[in-house]
């Protein structure tokens, strides 16, 4: 299971984009859904890209938690859910790191978004695909401006996550 996940971590994003394209194309098995070149297709692709990272890193985070946490929660009468919550709470820094890494992968991703979204203006153009287009058109000012927006977004999300962690750590 972990091996599969770890393989998925290293999967090239364009290959995932291609697979989803083949699934969603008109003659593909899921062509009837009419999702190709829609923002929903991009969401599906990004979830598939981010999930293995989130799961693999979360699993590693939970495995690294002191085994006494689980035993302590159980012996104090906690049920399965509360015990899992207690373990997750103790692992929250590494779990947050998993979120940041997964988010980073989605934020910087261009290949799959381009293939399944089609880079349609006002419809499926993401920041990264817009930068790709602007650069190829020689519109470097726009490309740099969009790049800065992307960086600011990444920074903001990271700061927010750090703030949330800090607040929980009384």
């Amino acid at each position: 299971m972990l091996l599969l996940l770890n393989t998925a971590l290293a999967f090239p994003t364009v290959v995932i984009g291609l697979c989803i394209y083949l699934l969603l194309m008109r003659r593909g098995p899921l062509g009837g859904l009419g999702l190709l070149f829609s923002w929903q297709a991009i969401v599906v692709a990004e979830v598939i890209l981010a999930l293995p990272i989130a799961v693999a890193l979360s699993a590693a985070a939970v495995q690294a938690v002191d085994p006494r946490v689980r035993r302590t929660a159980l012996t104090l009468g906690a049920g399965t859910l509360r015990t899992a919550w207690a373990v997750a709470r103790e692992a929250r820094f590494t779990l947050a790191a998993a979120v940041v890494v997964a988010f980073g992968r989605v934020l910087s991703e261009v290949g799959a978004a381009l293939i399944v979204g089609g880079n349609i203006r006002y419809e499926t153009r993401t920041l990264t695909t817009a930068i790709t287009l602007a650069t190829s058109q020689g519109n470097f000012n726009l490309a740099i401006a969009l790049g800065l927006v992307l960086l600011a977004l990444a920074l903001t999300v990271n700061v927010l996550i750090q703030l949330l962690q800090g607040r929980g750590d009384v």
Binding site: R71, T72, L74, L76, G77, A78, E90
Partner: protein, 333 residues
């Protein structure tokens, strides 16, 4: 009623048997010490009694009901709490930690605060309620863990090496709180210790484990007494006997006489031993080259002698013998 009844218990780790107990009953309200060297199976037994893992074979009944299924173990864990050797405190404050079990039990918000406060006060920890649990000393962590365990009012509290923390005063406070809790309500306390001294000091009963089995070599000659007090030498009533001990203490105490400090003789000895009692041999137990002789002198005294002395003296069950020991050989706990 018995809190725990264990039958045919076997537990293995990686194919290796670590615990084999044919039968064991722990009565409600007991204060039992599990003694034995490291690796004797004490922690394993405590984890099984805490229902944190199922035994490889055999049954454990809690208050008369066998706990065999996953669901039964889960329900049983609400009634038995284990404090580990190095307790883990969750992130958050001391009060958060003590509230954990209460919240898990679905106790209402206002009642949680009240019970947290009461539990902390019992362990003299109220001043630490809002402190970060990560900033406590080892002794404080131990006491917070005990307060957290007592807050859920378990029928049995299991403690793994509670005296291993460096802080002696913290241990005193902890055991005093446990005694107080036992006086308040029926609570069974079982604690593991590799130090006999702690067992003598705090336990009402002793259970010796050796290599995963109940050891026949239990610490013997333990007597609960009330010391009359006085300077230096005291004469203490133990059953019908009066035993001379050297202690300046007064009040409840435990006397311990090591079996190898007791001399057996056919006639009263002319010696410096202040305690000489006549009795009758009621039991003999052989352990290799040594023999443990139980003498009924009004109370049962166990003496450890070599097989050679045993044969030369011609001792036998029913035979009359004198047991002598010095007053300084009587340890007072």
């Amino acid at each position: 009623m018995a809190t725990f009844e264990v039958a045919g218990l076997r537990h293995t780790y990686g194919g290796r048997a670590v615990l084999e107990l044919d039968a064991l009953t722990i009565e409600t309200g007991a204060r039992l010490a599990l003694v034995g060297p490291n690796g004797a199976g004490k922690s394993t037994l405590l984890r099984l009694l805490a229902f944190l893992e199922p035994p490889s074979a055999g049954t454990i009944a809690l208050e008369g009901r066998p706990v065999a299924t996953h669901g039964a173990r889960r329900a049983a864990r609400r009634r038995v709490t284990l404090v580990e050797q190095r307790p883990y405190l969750f992130r958050g404050t001391v009060a958060d930690n003590v509230a954990f079990g209460l919240r898990a039990a679905g106790v209402a918000g206002s009642a949680v605060d009240q019970r947290v406060r009461a539990a902390l006060e019992r362990l003299q920890l109220h001043a630490l309620a809002s402190r970060d649990a990560r900033q406590l000393s080892e002794g404080e962590i131990q006491r917070v863990a005990v307060a957290r365990a007592l807050a859920v009012e378990p029928v049995a509290l299991l403690l793994d090496e509670p005296a291993s923390s460096a802080d002696r005063a913290a241990q005193q406070a902890m055991f005093a709180a446990l005694a107080e809790e036992q006086a308040r309500r029926p609570l069974t306390v079982v604690f593991a210790s590799h130090l006999l001294e702690d067992a003598y000091r705090w336990a009402g009963g002793l259970l010796a484990l050796h290599q995963g089995r109940l050891s026949p070599v239990t610490p013997e000659n333990l007597f609960r007494v009330d010391l009359p007090g006085g300077a230096g030498m005291q004469r203490v009533a133990v059953g019908p006997l009066l035993i001379d001990v050297v202690s300046g203490r007064a009040g409840p105490a435990t006397l311990a006489i090591a079996p190898d400090e007791i001399l057996l003789s056919a006639a009263p000895l002319q010696s410096s031993a202040r305690n000489v009692f006549r009795g009758r041999i009621v039991r003999l137990a052989e352990h290799g080259a040594e023999i443990r002789v139980t003498v009924d002198a009004g109370i049962e005294l166990v003496a450890r002698i070599t097989r050679r002395s045993f044969e030369e003296m011609g001792l036998a069950v029913g035979g009359e013998v004198y047991a002598s020991f010095k007053s300084v050989a009587v340890r007072v706990f």
